[in-house]
């Protein structure tokens, strides 16, 4: 169990923690999975990296169920449409366009707002389901994993991520493994979380992308802290930046060959490398201390 941080899973409130980064390959999934495994209490893990979900690879979990995710796209009844063009003038994404004739629908451009169907004066537009991906539920020890996986050729991840976040239970601890970067899928993941952990590496690339991620979470007004992974491969510029910007460094994880070897075999680090279970379990204490400390 967690120590005296004031946090008790399932009690007065629940806590949603997102693991994000600017740069890819810094260790978001490794951290998400291992923090979850290091806890003795039940935890929900959401793999929000829907273009390349891979948390399950480290868990070898049991599949519980699957659910298709659809968005709604317009379908035009050509007998009712009089070609007035109101739908095309309304759509900001060119998903439905008219040329004084019946409209053309480009489903892959559609954000599913439903505006065209609502304002069509002829009532000629209905909304139909358009599959974008799949949510899978897995179980592994104390972890319930929900994974979003976007279909090949689908470009819009946020609706799938929002559907995945509907799986967040009403209480308990939730860890969200975010996609890399600072664009729409990440913002969709971070919406309404309580705390963001930004994982970086101590290199010029790590620092550059960390500053972008810090700008993003500050813009979103979310409390956050930094974990520096693979300390020893680069220099101390990330730590100096965090000190200058008054950002909490929650943990520095050493560049350890034993960790890299476990990772390359697809093994859990907390289970196969001695000493790491305590290290990862301690992250929750650091997060709670920073969160309760009112860090913004």
């Amino acid at each position: 169990m967690l120590r005296d941080t004031g946090y008790k899973p399932g009690e007065d409130r629940f806590m949603k923690i997102a693991i994000a980064s600017g740069k890819g390959g810094t260790g978001k999934t490794t951290l998400s999975v291992n923090i979850a495994q290091a806890l003795d209490s039940p935890v929900v893990l959401l793999d929000c990296d829907v273009e390349e979900p891979n948390s399950r690879l480290f868990l070898d979990p049991k599949l519980i169920g699957e659910e298709v995710v659809n968005t709604l796209i317009p379908k035009v009844d050509p007998d009712k449409c009089n070609g007035c063009g109101a739908c095309g003038r309304f759509c900001q994404f060119n998903a439905i366009v008219t040329f004084g004739t019946k409209p053309l629908v480009f489903s892959e451009m559609c954000h599913g707002c439903g505006g065209c169907a609502r304002l069509c004066p002829q009532g000629a537009i209905t909304e139909v389901e358009n599959r974008i991906g799949l949510i899978s539920e897995f179980s592994s020890g104390n972890i319930r994993l929900f994974q979003g996986c976007i279909d090949v050729g689908v470009a819009m991840a946020p609706p799938l991520i929002r559907a995945l976040k509907q799986k967040i239970p009403e209480d308990g601890l939730v860890i969200l493994d975010a996609p890399p970067g600072t664009t729409c899928p990440v913002v969709a993941t971070l919406g309404e979380v309580d705390y963001v952990v930004l994982v970086t590496e101590p290199t010029p690339f790590g620092l550059n992308d960390l500053t972008l991620a810090v700008d993003m979470v500050r813009e979103l007004g979310l409390p956050f802290g930094v974990i520096v992974n693979r300390v020893g491969v680069g220099d101390d510029r990330v730590q100096r930046y965090c000190e200058r910007e008054n950002i909490s460094v929650l943990l520095e994880i050493p560049n350890d060959r034993a960790v890299a070897e476990a990772y390359s075999r697809g093994e859990s680090i907390v289970e196969s490398v001695p000493g790491y279970k305590e290290l990862f379990a301690g992250i929750m204490d650091s997060i709670m201390a920073d969160y309760k400390g009112g860090h913004k």
């Binding site: 994404f93 060119n94 366009v97 040329f99 480009f106 451009m109 470009a155």
Partner: protein, 120 residues
């Protein structure tokens, strides 16, 4: 009849822009009077997505009946076809030289997109 040529510059001596949706300029040429007008496509050039569809709508709004360009993707081609606009792909060289080929009837009407969509 009015036709559109995608252009990298503002004169008939400019090179054809090989892109349709993200062309720098559109030259709207009147084949009867020989006059032309330059339409800046900057807004579309910076669009995140849907540039081809938007460009097709812009072309439709000019009243042009044909487009001469380098390449045209599937969404732009579908939109131009729906608007009844003839597409001539594979244009290269200057706007003037393409106009001459058009007047001589040397251009071949495209039957479909000649490139893939830009995010597939």
């Amino acid at each position: 009849m009015k036709i559109i040529l995608t252009s990298t510059g503002r004169t008939l001596e400019s090179e054809i822009d090989s892109r349709f949706g993200r062309a720098a300029m559109f030259i709207l040429f009147d084949t009867e009077s020989g006059d032309f007008e330059v339409i800046d496509n900057k807004q579309n050039l910076d669009a995140a997505q849907g540039a081809g569809i938007q460009a097709a709508q812009n072309v439709f709004n000019t009243g042009a009946k044909a487009v001469i360009t380098g390449h045209c993707g599937p969404k732009a081609f579908a939109a131009l076809s729906a608007a009844g606009i003839i597409v001539y792909c594979n244009a290269t060289g200057t706007v003037q030289s393409m106009l001459e080929q058009y007047k001589n009837g040397d251009l071949k009407e495209s039957q479909g997109a000649d490139v893939e969509g830009h995010w597939v």
